[in-house]
């Protein structure tokens, strides 16, 4: 679960990581009042859950109430990278003497947390990593023993950070690591960690993503994890427990397993245009596939539906019943091609055929996609 910048900043505050004076607002009036308290110039930052916000116009400096009214008015209700801006953060504009980068994530291969630090923080950090890898300090952490202050100091020292800043920066990194483990984060990032002219520090932007599988056991009042998903179909997907990604095309897709779903898209995508990606995860039931049909059919103007499922956890004919029930109840007219293999597959095929689904019984998805293309072209 991703946190908005202002939510992550609040979390930082609880652990003593210094953040700018700032407040999140939903109206221009509130923005004016907060800016008045903070004092101009202030930053206006769109609260959207996507990277690259700055370059997309989601962060502006305003120097007067008039400018603020214009900017906040424009920003609230606009879209940044396709996401609506409902909230903006009005934030103290700090004097920047230096920008550092601090990031913590998990290295999937070793299964260990990795702490990344750079004295070249800011929007170009990935470029820095590619072109001047020596400017990024990396420490792989043994989760058995945790992260120690000396490791942070050592990273910073090797990057040439001055002795005066070393202690305070190491302290921030250690606090971030504590948050990372306590909140079971997948990523925790401060970029930039601003060094002020007086050598104070400010976490001027915050990225924090909590492992969705761990959210329920975290003892902290976290916001609702579904509410924040902007696309209604993607939100419904999360609610029913499947992964749904909305796409531009017109072929509905239901697959069991991300790998099979991706392979299906790869094969379909050579000729046709998938309208979504949907993978059910394990444990297909009648109810789940009924809901998947509902979800896929929320998208208007589909030309066909492609179902590619295997019965692993559960016998596959249960799911087939859900598909058929939806077809019958809603009198679906577009062609549906299904490849459904695994336990109880013959029964499954019979059920699907009873509702006019085009069943392909071979293993290779290519053959089912051939059938799909044929049917779409016929229409």
């Amino acid at each position: 679960m991703r946190l908005y910048e202002f939510e992550a900043a609040n979390l930082f505050k609880t652990k003593g990581i210094p953040v700018p004076r700032q407040k999140v607002v939903e109206t221009t009036e509130e923005a004016l009042s907060i800016a008045g308290e903070i004092g101009y110039p202030v930053l206006i930052k769109a609260q959207v859950l996507v990277g690259g916000r700055g370059l997309a116009g989601g962060i502006k400096t305003v120097s007067t109430p008039e400018e603020l009214e214009d900017t906040a008015g424009q920003m609230l209700g606009s879209e940044i990278k396709g996401l609506p801006v409902r909230k903006i953060l009005v934030s103290e504009k700090a004097d920047i003497s230096k920008e550092l980068y601090v990031g913590i994530t998990i290295d999937g291969y070793s299964g260990k947390p990795v702490v990344l630090v750079s004295t070249e923080g800011g929007v170009n950090i990935e470029k820095v990593a590619r072109t001047s890898p020596e400017k990024i300090g990396t420490a792989t952490i043994d989760p058995k023993f945790g992260f120690y202050p000396y490791q942070a100091r050592s990273l910073l020292r090797k990057l040439g950070l001055s002795k005066r800043l070393l202690g305070s920066c190491a302290d921030v990194i250690n606090r971030l690591y504590t948050l990372f483990t306590e909140f079971e984060a997948l990523i925790a990032e401060i970029n930039p960690l601003v060094v002020l002219p007086n050598e104070g520090l400010l976490a001027a932007d915050a990225v924090f993503e909590i492992d969705p599988s761990a959210v329920s056991r975290i003892k902290y009042p976290l916001p609702d994890r579904f509410e924040r998903i902007e696309n209604p179909m993607e939100r419904k997907g999360k609610e029913i427990g499947v992964t749904y990604v909305d796409l531009d095309g017109d072929i509905g897709l239901i697959s069991s397993g991300a790998g099979l779903g991706m392979a299906s898209m790869d094969i379909i995508g050579k000729i046709l245009r998938p309208g979504n990606f949907l993978e059910t995860g394990g444990g297909i039931t009648e109810e789940l596939l009924y809901k998947c049909m509902e979800l896929v059919m929320m998208k208007p103007n589909l030309k066909a539906i492609f179902i590619n499922i295997y019965g692993g956890i559960n016998p596959i004919h249960e799911g087939a019943k859900g598909v058929v029930r939806y077809i019958k109840e809603h009198q679906v007219k577009i062609p549906i091609v299904a490849k459904a293999l695994g336990n109880h597959q013959e029964e499954t095929w019979e059920i699907l055929r009873s509702a006019g689904v085009h069943v392909v019984t071979e293993a290779a998805t290519e053959k089912a996609v051939d059938r799909l293309i044929e049917l779409v072209r016929k229409r």
């Binding site: 991703r2 859950l49 996507v50 990277g51 996401l83 980068y101 990031g103 994530t105 998990i106 999937g108 291969y109 299964g111 260990k112 947390p113 990795v114 990344l116 990593a129 990396t138 989760p143 058995k144 997948l186 990523i187 990032e189 970029n191 990225v207 993503e209 492992d211 969705p212 599988s213 761990a214 329920s216 056991r217 796409l247 069991s256 397993g257 991300a258 790998g259 099979l260 991706m262 392979a263 790869d266 094969i267 995508g269 995860g281 394990g282 444990g283 295997y310 019965g311 692993g312 956890i313 559960n314 293999l341 695994g342 336990n343 597959q345 071979e362 293993a363 290779a364 998805t365 290519e366």
Partner: protein, 290 residues
């Protein structure tokens, strides 16, 4: 010999009294797997499919001589059960459940390494040795005995590849689902190593996917350690990428993790690239693998 699962493997099913586990236990038994019992804390004394259920892994091991375990334990309890299983001296564990918290998986990896335990998953369909047995949820109908090994990051794609091979009369020595999580307990090279040593495997198919760096690491391993022929399919060439936040992930990986980057790394390691799943049957027939 197959890898990891053979005639000497005596399996317990953890969480055996759950609805799904009961069905899967029957299917594993039907497939010929030597299941010797199950564990569900608080349900000791019950039976499932005629098998004794124990309250603890320790008792199960003592009473049945079990040496392997397959998990159908609810995700929040997997970590605890994993420690229990390792402390009961079981050396091969298959973690079927999905949604195990990532920070738990990190601890599990540490503990498994410290105790020299081989574990696969989480979010794995498990392992299947055609005609001999299976631990996990792979649907038996897709598989046939033979001499080609399959390792797949995706569960269902492992069925797909086995299915295509079986339809083309190419059998499998062992099919391993690595697990679809961002961190898994056994990495691709760990499993490749077993296939390289297995005298019943002639060739290996890697079924990978976009993201992470398993395939890139596998390429390195293959270059330096493998003599057997390897082919690889990588799913996700046209997949939409999620809206990314933060930079840490991109910085930490040595590779871009794209399908193209993986192809390049694997091709350098003389791995045959399969652009589409069906290509696997051309590859096997061309080389006469069966």
């Amino acid at each position: 010999m197959s890898i990891l699962l053979d005639e000497k493997t005596r399996v317990i099913v953890q969480g055996i009294t759950g609805k799904i586990a009961r069905v899967q236990t029957k299917w594993m038994l039907d497939y010929g797997t030597t299941i010797v019992g199950g564990v569900t804390p608080g349900k000791g004394g019950a039976t499932v499919e005629g098998l004794p259920v124990f309250d603890s892994v320790e008792e199960a091991v003592k009473e049945t001589g079990a040496n392997a375990s397959v998990f159908f334990v609810p995700a929040p309890f997997v970590l605890d059960a994993f420690y229990e299983t390792i402390d009961a001296a079981i050396k091969f564990i298959v973690i079927v459940p999905e949604h195990v918290p990532v920070h738990d998986v990190m601890k599990m990896r540490s503990y498994a390494i410290e105790n020299k335990v081989f574990a696969i998953g989480p979010t794995t369909p498990g392992i299947l040795v055609p005609g001999k047995g299976k631990m996990g949820i792979m649907p038996a109908s897709m598989f046939a005995p033979g001499r080609v090994g399959i390792i797949s990051r995706s569960g269902t794609l492992s069925y797909e590849f086995a299915g295509i091979l079986s339809e083309n009369n190419v059998g499998q020595s062992t099919v391993v689902g690595m697990g679809a999580d961002p961190i898994v307990l056994a990495n691709l090279p760990d499993i490749l190593e077993l296939f390289e040593k297995d005298d019943e495997t002639d060739a290996v198919i890697i079924v990978g996917e976009v993201g992470g760096e398993q395939e890139e690491r596998a390429a390195k391993y293959i270059t330096s350690h493998m003599k057997k022929p390897v082919a690889a399919y990588i799913a996700g060439r046209f997949s939409p990428q999620g809206k990314r936040m933060g930079h840490a992930g991109a910085i930490v990986r040595s590779s871009a993790g794209t399908v193209e980057a993986k192809w390049e790394a694997l091709a350098k390691a003389k791995v045959t690239i399969l652009e589409s799943p069906m290509d696997v049957s051309y590859w096997t027939s061309k080389h006469g693998f069966h």
